[in-house]
């Protein structure tokens, strides 16, 4: 019988317990962690990743761990923040200790890649679900969703549709650059830092461009005018309504947009007065379906 104690041991070496650490006053192993944030504002986000919903049943434990952390961190990048520390609530029904060791390897790689510290967590038994809490600090100002202004340019940081193709390939056991990116998503911290002084609003594309841009528009009380031909997509218009790309979508004044390198940032349209998102393809207004959660015109 596998015990909680044995499971926790597979993570023990990853948890920073040093009281001498710059951040950690009291490390994990006690009832709670005590953290010294040096007076800086904390940026926090929480993300649940669940088997069947956020990754397919054949997804490996190391990949589950890494992807869960990366996906949660994308929200920090979208807010103009860099990672500092995290806690993980793991629910798993595996009775195989190797599953937990492999999961721990994925966490370890995420710790290295994102320069983040694991400061605590909890483990319980049940259908696989990872609740990741990430904490970070601002590069500059917070990149809120509510700062878009009419006349500003709308940019995305990369090709959309890669997340969808990655999920298809992982589900079908196809090894490709897309399945690799699905297993190791890259939160856009470098671009977040670069635009944090320049952009007016920002969101990460986790629910699909149209839905996510809708969030910026509704929170900023503006509309948007976007041109299909200018959007970097992998395949077709469906790539606009599927998420999991974890690129950033942001708005920026025309003057500030001159600082952006055209090979890294793609202008897809502009913010307008009103409350509609107008998508043009060959100068014709087109309508695309989202998954029904939000209305879209």
């Amino acid at each position: 019988m596998i015990s909680e104690k044995k499971i926790l041991k597979t993570f023990q070496h990853l948890i920073n317990t040093s009281d001498a650490d710059d951040l950690i006053e009291v490390g994990s192993g006690d009832d709670a962690a005590v953290l010294d944030t040096k007076g800086k504002n904390i940026v926090h986000s929480l993300d649940i990743s669940k088997v069947g919903t956020h990754f397919p049943p054949n997804f490996l434990p190391e990949d589950i761990a890494y992807r869960s952390v990366a996906v949660a961190l994308s929200d920090l990048a979208a807010m103009g923040a860099y990672p500092s520390f995290m806690t993980i609530g793991l629910t798993s029904n595996s009775k195989d200790l190797k599953w937990y060791e492999d999961f721990a390897k994925g966490i370890e790689n995420s710790i290295k890649d994102f320069k983040i510290e694991l400061v605590g967590g909890d483990v319980t038994f049940g259908e696989i679900s990872i609740c990741v809490n990430v904490f970070g600090f601002l590069y500059d100002k917070p990149l809120k969703r509510s700062g878009a202004m009419p006349g500003e340019k709308i940019f995305v940081t990369g090709t959309l549709g890669i997340g969808k193709k990655g999920l298809d390939d992982v589900t079908n056991d196809v090894d490709s650059i897309y399945s690799q990116k699905f297993r190791r998503p890259e939160p856009q911290f470098l671009k977040s830092e670069f635009i944090s002084k320049l952009a007016s609003s920002c969101i990460d594309i986790s629910d699909g461009l149209i839905k996510d841009l809708s969030s910026i528009c509704s929170m900023s009380n503006v509309g948007a005018n976007i041109k299909f031909e200018d959007i970097p997509i992998l395949k077709d218009v469906a790539d606009l309504s599927y998420g999991d790309d974890f690129e950033l979508c942001f708005t920026i004044s025309e003057a500030n947009s001159l600082f952006l390198d055209e090979s890294d940032y793609f202008c897809i349209g502009e913010i307008i007065e009103g409350n509609e998102i107008l998508l043009f393809k060959n100068n014709n207004l087109i309508t695309i379906e989202t998954d029904g959660w939000d209305s879209f015109k």
Copy 2:
């Protein structure tokens, strides 16, 4: 069909979105929350509560919500900290919007009772599981598990075994003071504040007195000598190995123990050299079984 958007709406009124708030720089609704902790150290703990493991299948959504928050907060009390804000990751397989409305009522009551702010969260579909992240600030110094010294007195703050009886009553649909306490556990914040200047080590009794006292002993490199007759218990010796009481167990110097009111704090023994917990009943050394996770003599 119930949508994530509809579910989130049932919680919307509970989330503090005011940017003018003292704590909150950027409220929920954005990619992440930005929090101003005024330079104070943050105390953080995470707790997963799961149907079948932490509460029975017939537990009502309002009670699930309230208990999940209270249980998580008990770790802050054990660390000598008071609550400030929280985030909640909710997984539920209910397709009934009323379930979420009732859950939200439980959260609302916990917000009122514990003077805590909800600053964000996530919702996903699956077997019921609540991942609660609580954040607070220290009353005085951190009440670590590692501070116990030989010669100190060991105290508990209340009767043990009430959690076990409460679970039995809830499971059997018996309405009693015990089932009521199971639905509305009380983290010991008042006592935590009072002892925060006085005690040397502290833990909350969530896994059973013997296991939890073992944690203090192993982290402090000491042993303990406890007297069964002095332990306030509801029923029998089994009450020492079952948890969920959420009383505090702490150690304190004899001099400081004179400040404690005998009707609120119960001395059950003392810290000794060594690494064993010795339990005496009628002056005879007895051995009790824990659930096998920790050795115990």
